[in-house]
């Protein structure tokens, strides 16, 4: 400005033109600067609005997400609870099924045992009464005691009506001659014959007692009268207990063996004579 004022006349046209262009340039420069500033301000404003809007959006989003999460957690907790209940119910159901299964298993074993008992009783009874041959009857009694009850050493005795002693008529695991003649007051024999129920030693052992005492005495009786006894001295090694089947067989022998022996004896025509050892042995030949 100072230069244009110092040369108002003497600068000539070129200088004026130059100054004009310079002024135009400056004007243009400032105008464009102003425009740019304006644009920047507008952009700034626009961005600021946008940022505020985004912040709002973010905030809304955050609160929205927070709400969904809580709901989801609530839903999940509910589902977990439902699943826990289902699991608990399933476990209860499983326990019930398991208990029922155990019941069925026990029932099955009972039925099996009952079937076993009936099979043994049916066959033993059927065989006992299948013959009137005295030897065959004694053989069948031996087989019942050996194969069904599982005794290893035992003898069958009959009561001598005159001497009142039990004399051996058949034996297994020992010779008949080696089986002792038993007086009625022998403890185990007396107990069995008096009560009419089998005497069973308290210990279940496969070996014979050292004192020769019997492990079991099964009384044979007819209408309450003693006819004889089966005396067991040893059981088979594999026999571990006296089962329900054995007790049933003892009862069957007690009632039916005497009938079978006396029936066979009567069939020989010797029934009217007193039952003595000599007479019985004579029948056996």
């Amino acid at each position: 400005m100072a230069e244009s004022e110092s040369n108002p006349k003497g600068g000539g046209g070129e200088e004026t033109d130059l100054l004009g262009r310079r002024e135009d340039f400056i004007k243009t420069f400032f105008r464009k600067g102003a425009e740019l500033t304006e644009e920047l301000l507008e952009e700034n404003e626009r961005l600021r609005y946008k940022m505020v809007a985004l912040e709002h959006e973010l905030s809304a989003l955050r609160s929205s997400n927070a709400g969904d999460g809580a709901t989801a957690i609530r839903e999940l907790s509910k589902r977990i609870q439902q699943l826990e209940e289902e699991r608990s119910n399933l476990l209860k159901g499983f326990s019930a099924v398991e208990a029922r299964s155990r019941d069925y298993e026990a029932r099955f074993r009972q039925i099996e045992e009952e079937n076993e008992r009936l099979a043994n009783l049916y066959v033993a009874s059927d065989q006992l009464h299948s013959t009137l041959d005295l030897r065959e009857v004694l053989q069948i009694i031996l087989e019942i005691v050996l194969n069904f009850i599982g005794a290893k050493q035992f003898s069958i005795h009959v009561l001598d009506e005159e001497t009142k002693r039990l004399f051996p008529v058949a034996a297994e695991g020992m010779a008949v001659a080696d089986a002792p003649e038993l007086p009625l007051d022998t403890a185990a024999v007396a107990a069995a014959l008096r009560s009419g129920t089998p005497y069973l030693a308290s210990e279940m052992s496969p070996s014979a007692p050292a004192d020769g005492a019997p492990l079991a005495v099964i009384p044979l009786h007819l209408r309450g009268q003693a006819v004889g006894a089966v005396v067991i001295y040893r059981y088979l090694v594999q026999k571990k207990e006296i089962s329900e089947v054995d007790h049933a067989l003892f009862r069957l022998l007690a009632a039916h063996a005497a009938t079978a022996i006396l029936g066979a004896r009567h069939a020989t025509g010797a029934g009217e004579r007193p039952l003595t050892r000599a007479a019985f042995n004579a029948l056996l030949g």
Partner: protein, 125 residues
């Protein structure tokens, strides 16, 4: 399961009846009885059997001879054999197994043991 046949070889009528009684509880199993080994061989010749259950101690022909004869017979060498043994007969039992018996049952026998052993060998279990 049509047509399964079992042969029971036992000289004691009492034992035979018990074994037969047990086997008759297996559905569709026909049971044939023989008194001893010779009777068993006669019955084996005239029929087809899916299993043989035999006692060891028998008159005329015992169970061991019967096992040997069955295993040497081309028609029956594959038939499963169950032997019935008594206590103290470990040697007989081992011999029967070495001759080709498939299984054994101890006396005193229980019908459920017979049923389960036979079912196992006939693959019915």
């Amino acid at each position: 399961m049509p047509g399964l046949n079992a042969l029971v070889v036992e000289d004691s009528p009492l034992m035979r009846q018990l074994i037969v009684y047990a086997l008759r509880q297996i559905k569709d199993l026909r049971v044939v009885e023989a008194d001893d080994g010779v009777d068993a061989l006669r019955k084996l010749q005239g029929d087809r059997f899916d299993i043989v259950i035999t006692d060891i101690n028998m008159p005329i022909m015992d169970g061991l001879k019967l096992v040997r004869r069955i295993r040497s017979d081309e028609h029956h060498r594959e038939v499963p054999i169950v032997i019935i043994t008594t206590e103290g007969a470990e040697e007989d039992r081992q011999r029967a197994l070495s001759l080709g018996a498939n299984a054994y049952i101890h006396k005193p026998i229980r019908s459920h043991q017979v049923i389960s052993k036979v079912k196992e060998l006939l693959k019915l279990a």
